[in-house]
């Protein structure tokens, strides 16, 4: 067996039959390069097992409950409503300026929507488009 075949068998280590396992072990005994790679792949498995033993703090869920007690569920406006609100606000501000009035209070009333929109850009189902970019390599 050559090193290329040995690498392939290592990747499927858990699914090998008895003959394949014997074949691999015979090669590893003779080939230092492959046995070194094999050792590192086993260390990778150990590393993952070690990390899987880690736990969250015992008070994790009560900490979350404490935080949400002062944290309301936000109602989310559909994107078209935010858009319309913005357009209306822009239109009214333009109209007001055109009429020679100051538009301070109107401006204040609309500043919250971009923030909400931005924050939910991550977790909104629609914005999970970003997942598509994971798929493209």
């Amino acid at each position: 067996m050559n090193c290329k075949k040995s690498s392939g068998l290592m990747l499927a280590y858990k699914y090998l039959n008895k003959d394949q396992l014997n074949e691999l072990h015979n090669h590893l005994r003779k080939c230092e390069t492959c046995s070194d790679i094999f050792k590192k792949m086993m260390q990778l498995e150990d590393f993952i097992e070690e990390q899987k033993k880690l736990n969250l703090s015992k008070d994790f869920s009560s900490r979350i409950m404490e935080q949400i007690s002062s944290n309301p569920i936000r109602t989310i406006q559909p994107a078209w409503q935010i858009q319309t609100k913005r357009l209306l606000a822009a239109a009214s501000i333009t109209a007001i300026i055109w009429m020679g009035y100051k538009a301070g209070s109107f401006y204040n009333a609309t500043t919250d929507s971009p923030n909400i929109e931005q924050e939910f850009a991550y977790i909104n189902d629609v914005a999970l488009e970003s997942i598509d970019s994971w798929i493209m390599e």
Partner: protein, 182 residues
């Protein structure tokens, strides 16, 4: 009481029921975060952020997928953002960061099967994977999810998941074997 009924109750104002969802999902979300960022405290902070954000956005959960799938997607998004920020910091102060990584792994309650140097090498190898391979690998190895479940979370086909997993393993093997040559 099923998941959707619990969620409806919470939205109606019965906040306490959220603890049912937290307790049911916290460990697996923590594992997913851990698989992506490796650092215990960072993973716990991210898990916390996932549950707070999910709570705040609960009305936008439509029930098209299961609640856990939705949580996984939030966890992946937040963890990847965290990693990207960390990468930028690394470029600025790579030496400082190297020492931090070592100091932090020293605190892990670990067995002696792998030493800290090996651990750093393995973390770097996993980190070097393309994001989509890293996600599939983490969900498969840390959370032991089936390919169909990973496919749903990542919104790709099962075949695509299988190929991501194979490429991830091959890349890891290649990366790990390179360290000897140095």
């Amino acid at each position: 009481m099923n998941e959707n009924e619990i969620i409806n109750d919470i939205i109606k104002g019965n906040k306490l029921k959220y603890s049912l969802l937290v307790e049911k999902n916290q460990q697996m979300i923590f594992r997913a975060c851990l698989g992506l960022v490796h650092h215990h405290e960072d993973a716990e902070d991210l898990t916390q952020e996932v549950f707070i954000k999910a709570y705040q956005a609960l009305v936008s959960f439509k029930g098209d997928s299961s609640f856990s799938t939705w949580l996984y997607r939030i966890a992946i998004n937040l963890s990847l953002t965290h990693l990207r920020k960390k990468k930028n910091r690394n470029i600025i102060s790579s030496i400082e960061e190297l020492f931090k990584v070592r100091a932090s792994t020293d605190n892990n309650p670990e067995s002696d099967t792998i030493n800290n140097e090996q651990r750093t090498i393995i973390e770097k190898a996993i980190d070097s994977l393309p994001e989509n391979q890293k996600i599939a690998f983490t969900l498969s190895k840390y959370d032991e999810l089936k390919q169909a479940e990973i496919a749903e979370i990542m919104m790709i086909s099962e075949g695509a998941v299988e190929s991501l997993l194979q490429r991830a393993k091959k890349n890891l093997q290649k990366k790990l074997s390179q360290y000897k040559k140095k």
